[in-house]
């Protein structure tokens, strides 16, 4: 009977967003950016009196809701393909950046001490490397004494943007991973155990000797977990930090990306953290309710301009300035109402 319950919840979420007062902005989707959207909404409400009603029902739900036109904007951690956007008349743009961090539980190994690369992590998650003193790991960590403990891979069981970024990164760095597993919000892991949510993965990793997991950066940082460093595309060892995420976003080729369809994993750039991702917003290019979309754009513009410090407090990374101005240009040229640009730049 639980499926009925879940369907009901979706239904209620839909009706709630319909019922939100006209002055409020309504949105639905990704759970990953929910904390920062909620914080922004709170500050924005105090400032302007206009509230944001954001239902964090997941990216899939957000895409379904915006396509059903029950919300003003949808939010997704996985960018929609340009074809899909064209056929549905939607525009997408990045809103906030975050990163995914591998964490380990090996006796005697502290935060930032273990170094891995994409191919090795992929081999671990495919069951090809099963012990911490494997030659491939030793080669990356010549100075570290690693135990013969069995590796227990822990993955996120709930479909999530975190899963997508992680599996996308492994697909880009390991051809075998790409052909046998691939990238998605949920994938079929051949080995390991699935834990629910960041807290589940963190707890499973902390409990199990020899475990490796992956969590959102904010989660790893706030819980002081033993994160690893990674080799990026440029061949450098990088540690996860706001700077290395921003470096990935800044060096990415946004200008050349059709409809902002760009996944920030494995970007060039000497300092780029390789598992970085943006969370996206979806709105209609020719909205039926132009006034609400205008209100939503005003909110996003305010968040770009004044929300950066709030984002940093929650360990999210704001977009680089050049990208923000590119996004706002896109609003002006692509979102129209009655043939005229809707966004006036204010």
């Amino acid at each position: 009977m639980k499926i009925v319950k879940r369907l009901l919840i979706l239904g209620v979420a839909a009706s709630l967003s319909l019922a939100a007062s006209a002055a409020d902005i309504s949105g639905a989707g990704a759970t990953f950016p929910y904390p920062i959207y909620a914080k922004w909404a709170d500050a924005y409400k105090k400032l302007t009196g206009i509230g944001l009603n954001y239902q964090s029902i997941g990216s899939g739900g957000g895409i379904k809701q915006i396509k059903a036109k029950t919300v003003t904007f949808g939010a997704s951690d996985m960018p929609l393909k340009p074809d899909d956007l064209k056929s549905s008349g939607l525009l997408q743009f990045p809103m906030i950046i975050g990163g995914v961090v591998p964490v380990v539980n090996i006796k005697g190994v502290g935060p930032g001490q273990l170094h891995l690369d994409g191919a090795t992590v992929a081999a671990i998650y495919m069951g090809d490397i099963t012990q911490w003193n494997d030659a491939a790991i030793k080669k990356l960590n010549p100075k570290l004494t690693l135990p013969s403990t069995a590796i227990a891979p822990v993955y996120r069981s709930d479909g999530s943007g975190t899963n997508f970024l992680f599996s996308d990164y492994l697909s880009k760095t390991s051809p075998k991973f790409q052909s046998s597993i691939g990238a998605n919000t949920s994938v079929q892991w051949p080995v390991g155990i699935g834990a629910k949510g960041n807290e589940g993965v963190a707890n499973m990793t902390a409990q199990t000797d020899g475990a490796i997991g992956y969590v959102e950066y904010a989660f790893a940082k706030q819980n002081k977990m033993s994160f690893t460093t990674l080799t990026n595309k440029a061949g450098n060892a990088v540690a996860p930090s706001a700077e290395s995420f921003q470096a990935a976003a800044a060096t990415a080729d946004w200008a050349g990306a059709d409809s902002y369809f760009l996944i920030l994993t494995d970007q060039p750039g000497a300092k780029s953290w390789p598992i970085t991702g943006a969370s996206f917003i979806l709105v209609y290019k020719q909205p039926d309710d132009a006034a609400s979309v205008n209100e939503a754009l005003k909110f996003f513009a305010w968040a770009y301009k004044d929300g950066a410090s709030m984002a940093a407090e929650l360990d999210y990374v704001p977009l680089p300035a050049a990208l923000i101005s590119q996004v706002q240009k896109t609003w002006t040229t692509q979102i129209t109402s009655g043939g005229r640009p809707l966004w006036s730049g204010k």
Binding site: M1, I3, D158, T185, I193, G194, K196
Partner: protein, 335 residues
């Protein structure tokens, strides 16, 4: 309170009442009709909702079912990347975790109920009874978090290594207790489920045992029977129907439980011979993946899982009904 004949009369017609007082009868008649149609509507509403659920599940599941056909229930694969879906692993997990839960909860619940009704000192009766009912009121998410943070480490550190050491090498049975002790997995999910359904089973059985006429028990004791003999020869046969009913109530809840299981089962779409290995259930797969499922076939496959759970639960209830009918016939024959 009106006598039974009065009731019969009003239900079958109003002739008798009409003879007594026509004015009162007319009023009663209207009230009667309103009352009757209100209850009828309420009853039909249940059928409509159930029918609506079945129809919408079927409609939602149709793309997946028509695409995979029978393979949907016979394959273990569950790969959202290549859009290949089979429900065998979740079906297996659902059935096995529920069976483990029943194996633990039914004997324990039976014991609690017997103790409370037959053996308990009056002073303890209320506290234990209230405790059982309180256990039923704990939200499932609490059981999930408790299972993950408290029970799983204990199982991982003490119970599972013992099982692997002592039972892992026994032929046949040993397969059930092999592999690394993760702490979470099919067995842990079964144990958490057992604790969750225990109060339902215990409370139902207690209520049924309470309905055994004291006279029957007193007669048993009067004939010199021991407590054990009275329980097995008087109490249990008299409440067989209720025992089956309580078990089925617990089983129904175990099959559909979502949140607590999701936390402790390990969420792997795999069928392993070991009970210590991670698995998945129908409801936890839906809970895990529905929100982020993109693509028609993926969403449809998840809804098809829901349909399967609906069918499994329906089958369990139907079987229980059939069993109860058989039991009733047998008891009738004995009497």
């Amino acid at each position: 309170m009106p006598g039974p004949s009065y009731f019969c009369a009003t239900r079958s017609g109003t002739d008798i009442v009409a003879i007594i007082d026509p004015g009162h009868a007319a009023k009663q008649l209207i009230f009667e009709r309103i009352f009757r149609s209100a209850t009828l509507i309420a009853a039909i509403l249940v059928l409509l909702i159930l029918g609506g659920v079945a129809v919408s599940l079927l409609r939602g599941a149709w793309p997946a079912l028509s695409h995979f056909r029978l393979a949907f229930v016979t394959r273990e694969i569950w790969n959202p990347v290549t859009d290949q879906f089979g429900a065998l692993a979740p079906i297996y997990g659902t059935v096995v975790t529920s069976l483990i839960a029943m194996l633990i909860a039914v004997p324990t619940g039976f014991g609690i109920a017997l103790f409370l009704t037959e053996l308990c000192p009056p002073l303890l009766k209320r506290p234990i009874g209230v405790a059982v009912e309180l256990l039923a009121a704990v939200p499932s998410i609490i059981f999930g978090i408790w299972g993950l943070f408290v029970l799983a480490p204990v199982l991982q550190r003490y119970v599972q290594p013992w099982l692997i050491r002592n039972l892992g090498d026994i032929p046949a049975v040993g397969h059930l207790f092999k592999g690394p002790p993760y702490g979470i997995g099919i067995l842990t999910a079964g144990v958490v489920l057992a604790i969750m359904v225990l109060p339902f089973i215990a409370a139902t059985m207690r209520d049924v045992f309470d309905t055994v006429p004291p006279m029957l028990k007193e007669s048993g004791y009067g004939l010199g029977a021991t407590t054990w003999e009275v329980i097995w020869n008087v109490v249990v046969p008299h409440s067989r129907v209720g025992i089956v009913g309580g078990t089925m109530l617990g089983l129904g809840r175990a099959l559909g439980e979502t949140m607590a299981v999701t936390f402790v089962i390990g969420n792997a779409h795999r069928i392993s011979s070991s009970l210590l290995a991670p698995g998945t259930t129908i409801s936890s797969a839906i809970a895990n993946e529905f929100t982020e499922a993109v693509g028609d076939l993926y969403t449809s496959s998840l809804i098809a899982l829901g349909l399967l759970l609906f069918l499994i639960t329906f089958t369990v209830i139907a079987l229980a009904q059939a069993m109860l009918r058989r039991l009733e016939r047998r008891t009738g024959a004995v009497a």
